[in-house]
Symmetry: C2
Subunit: 202 residues, 2 copies
């Protein structure tokens, strides 16, 4: 009855942009927009500013592909990191996961995705050339492939390994097995088979 | 191993603010932040700008409590709306729901919540005084209580009705009954009893 317009164009635009965030649909975007407008000083203002800062200052590290306000990023610039190991991940989110777990104190290389012909992602879409270049550094002795245990991740691992054939580095991959806290009854056959195959002495 | 810091303070702050949006937890806030940074031009920039616009221009309508960039809001200012009816809602989200449904072409009054002693929300926290004032306008003949069919909503409806006792207006409420598309087998006893009680001629 109001010509389909339920609110002003400014609020409508905010809702539509919020709805494009992963995890938010149209309904939750409306809730989020209302929440932001109700909490102008505590949330909307600081968030608008944080986004502007991210927009102005965040860049991709030209060495490893991580994101930071500095280039090289704080990980590449950290002299305490083991310089002999490069951990290869598909995405920055994977790098964050490994850092949260404090799993390794090395440097990373972010490929920017995984090979997926169905999604049109080919070798040229991944930052493999940069990795080959870094692997030529005599200080680097090991490349750890920390890619997802999916078909795409494993295909990518094989491709990267082939490309690294000429470099004098050891190429390793994450162990496959029973997740810590996992119950055997709930695990898939592939994981169980891998866990048996790679069993270690108790 | 990096002292708990997995990314720069600017990105960390963006993640923490995003995590305060309803519907986003810490993990989805990280995904959202990465998504925003990957789509700087298409999403992060426009969203930062839309938030700044909302911050600068969106205000609460001093007549009805709706939010808009104008005061009075576009609904209060719309001369085609029925001036005899005021639809009372708890929240702007409810106003949006009624507008989306094009359920009524009248004006609204947003209470800003519902009476809830457990949550510390009392009569003074709701915009009831403004409604009494508006109900005194001789042009207004009916107040429709479009509050939630919850205990808090119904308590609020009773309170508002008491306060309106002196005004020469008819006070009505939304019909209770079977939702359109609803199956009887899945409905609660209260809804079924209300649907029988308020049955209409076929």
């Amino acid at each position: 009855m109001s010509g389909g317009r339920i609110t002003g164009p400014e609020i409508e635009r905010l809702i539509q942009l919020l709805a494009r965030l992963p995890g938010l649909g149209p309904r939750s975007a409306r809730r989020a927009a209302l929440h932001l407008i109700k909490k102008k000083d505590q949330l909307l203002g600081p968030l608008a500013e944080a986004m502007q800062v991210a927009l102005d200052e965040v860049r991709v590290c030209s060495t490893c592909g991580n994101i930071d306000t500095a280039d090289p990023c704080f990980i590449c610039a950290d002299p305490r990191r083991d310089p002999t190991i490069i951990v290869v991940v598909e995405d920055v989110a994977d790098l964050w996961a490994l850092e949260r777990a404090a799993a390794v104190s090395a440097r990373y290389h972010v490929l920017g995705g995984s090979l997926s012909p169905l999604d049109g992602v080919g070798p040229d879409d991944l930052n493999v050339a940069g990795l080959i270049e870094r692997a030529r550094d005599p200080a680097v002795t090991e490349i750890v492939l920390a890619v997802n245990a999916t078909v795409e991740g494993q295909t990518t691992a094989h491709y990267v390994t082939d490309q690294l054939a000429g470099a004098a580095v050891k190429v390793s991959q994450l162990a496959h097995g029973v997740p810590v806290g996992g119950e055997l009854d709930y695990l898939d056959d592939g994981t169980l088979a891998a866990a048996i195959r790679s069993r270690t002495e108790f």
